[in-house]
């Protein structure tokens, strides 16, 4: 279990407990947190669960999957710390993780 904070583009914070093994995307969707669309349902076929991982966390989350950067090319305003939240697996190590959400997904 990890406490994860999702920050909307307008600054609204949502901190929720997410079970180990779920993805950061699922944590948002299951808790009705706005800002993550996840149109493809987590299969890395779209870029609508795009988040910015806080700098100090970026190296602690599991590395990007092959093909993830290809999808991020198609995201809205990708940055250095961009990730697809469906590709970040939650574990105890991620307790305290903070992710910012882009202004929009599409």
């Amino acid at each position: 279990m990890a406490k994860i904070t999702y920050i909307e583009h307008n600054g609204t914070n949502h901190t929720v407990d997410v079970q180990n093994g779920l993805t950061v995307m699922e944590g948002a969707v299951q808790n009705d947190i706005p800002g993550i669309d996840a149109d493809c349902g987590g299969s890395m076929a779209c870029a609508t669960c795009h988040v910015y991982v806080k700098e100090d966390w970026f190296d602690k989350v599991n590395k990007k999957n092959e093909g993830e950067d290809d999808m991020l090319d198609q995201a809205y305003e990708p940055k250095k710390n961009s990730r697809l939240s469906c590709q970040i697996i939650v574990s105890d190590d991620l307790d305290g993780l903070v992710v910012d959400m882009p202004e929009k997904q599409t």
Partner: protein, 339 residues
């Protein structure tokens, strides 16, 4: 005005198999799709990726699945309206009048929405003021490459479209190619060609840069691009092309008076009918308790929606369930010999 028994919106796997089911039971149908080719997400998002959960097909790619479905439709004459987006669906007595953005109109008792996650639109730039240059100095697709002759063109993106056009336009234009990282997702041969052309200074390549600012009054005069370390470069340019792939928008479907929840359309599980009589939703775009976004679910939903269409298209006839293995009528429609 085109008259048809059923109009299918969306030429993805679900739309294609739904057409098959309609023709099998003796109904006419036509298909409209916003993309310029048949196949929907399968062809646009994962033409080369293998799919492993199509019943009786251990493994096939998105493109192979699409080609098989097109082959399955061969016995039938089905009119496709590609590169057209359905903008309007309006009630006219017991029929629906459907209009596309190209001015095609249909009258039909049945509209089947097999729209996946909506229509694909190009991902646009997000920098300030991009709207006023769009379709003039900013383009997301190329209709006539001759307009660029002798001009400076700045191309953004790292996929096949961006790379192919950079190579092509480098013949007679001054090309800047800008991408947010130094890896490309285009075909390796094209990537190699781009590097070769960069070496011979036919292409000016800027990697790890993104568009920061557009400068110009009525048309673009120059652009500022910025890298990860906030270094800014100003580039004189006549045109800016963006190839960031396609995004999915629910689009006009939201305006047809349907019950919509989280970009999906609510349906019943008997007819896959929406809250509007004669409008059905099948495949990824429909929503009901237990809905699975699998291609096989779309096939099932389309088969049932097709039977529901029969009632409205042939109000004076009774639908009789038949198997393809034994029905003479179906074999006639398929053009195969009975036994």
């Amino acid at each position: 005005m085109i008259k048809t028994d059923a109009l299918i919106i969306g030429a993805g796997p679900t739309g294609l198999f739904t057409a098959h089911q309609l023709k099998l039971i003796g109904l006419d149908c036509e298909i409209v799709d916003n993309l310029d080719k048949i196949g929907g997400q399968c062809i646009e998002l994962y033409p080369d990726k293998p799919i492993y959960d199509i019943p009786a097909v251990p493994e096939c790619t998105g493109e192979e699945l699409t080609n098989n479905l097109i082959n399955q439709l061969k016995p039938f004459d089905i009119k496709f309206h590609l590169s057209e987006r359905v903008d309007e669906v309006k009630k006219d007595n017991d029929k629906w009048v459907v209009k596309t953005n190209k001015g095609t109109s249909f009258t039909t008792p049945n509209v089947i929405i097999a729209g996946g996650v909506g229509s694909f639109e190009p991902r646009k730039f997000s920098v300030e003021g991009h709207e006023k240059f769009e379709n003039k100095s900013i383009l997301y697709s190329i209709k006539d490459k001759n307009i660029f002759k002798g001009k400076t063109v700045s191309i953004f993106g790292g996929g096949d479209s961006a790379l192919d056009w950079a190579v092509e336009l480098s013949n007679n234009c001054n090309v800047n190619l800008i991408h947010r990282r130094d890896e490309f997702r285009g075909a390796q041969a094209t990537v190699d060609k781009v590097h070769e052309l960069t070496k011979s200074q036919k292409i000016n390549l800027f990697t790890k840069f993104q568009l920061k600012k557009l400068n110009g009054a009525s048309k673009i005069e120059s652009i500022d691009i910025e890298d990860d370390d906030k270094q800014i470069i100003n580039l004189k340019t006549d045109y800016v092309l963006g190839f960031f792939g396609l995004i999915m928008q629910l689009g006009p479907i939201a305006n047809w008076g349907l019950n919509i929840d989280k970009k999906t359309v609510e349906v019943d599980t008997e007819k896959f009918e929406t809250n509007q009589k004669g409008i059905y939703a099948v495949g990824d775009i429909c929503n009901y308790p237990g809905k699975l976004k699998l291609i096989l679910s779309g096939f099932h939903e389309g088969a049932l929606a097709a039977r529901a269409c029969f009632k409205l298209a042939r109000p004076n006839e009774k639908y009789r369930f038949e198997f393809t293995t034994s029905s003479k009528a179906i074999k006639n429609r398929l053009g195969v010999k009975g036994d």
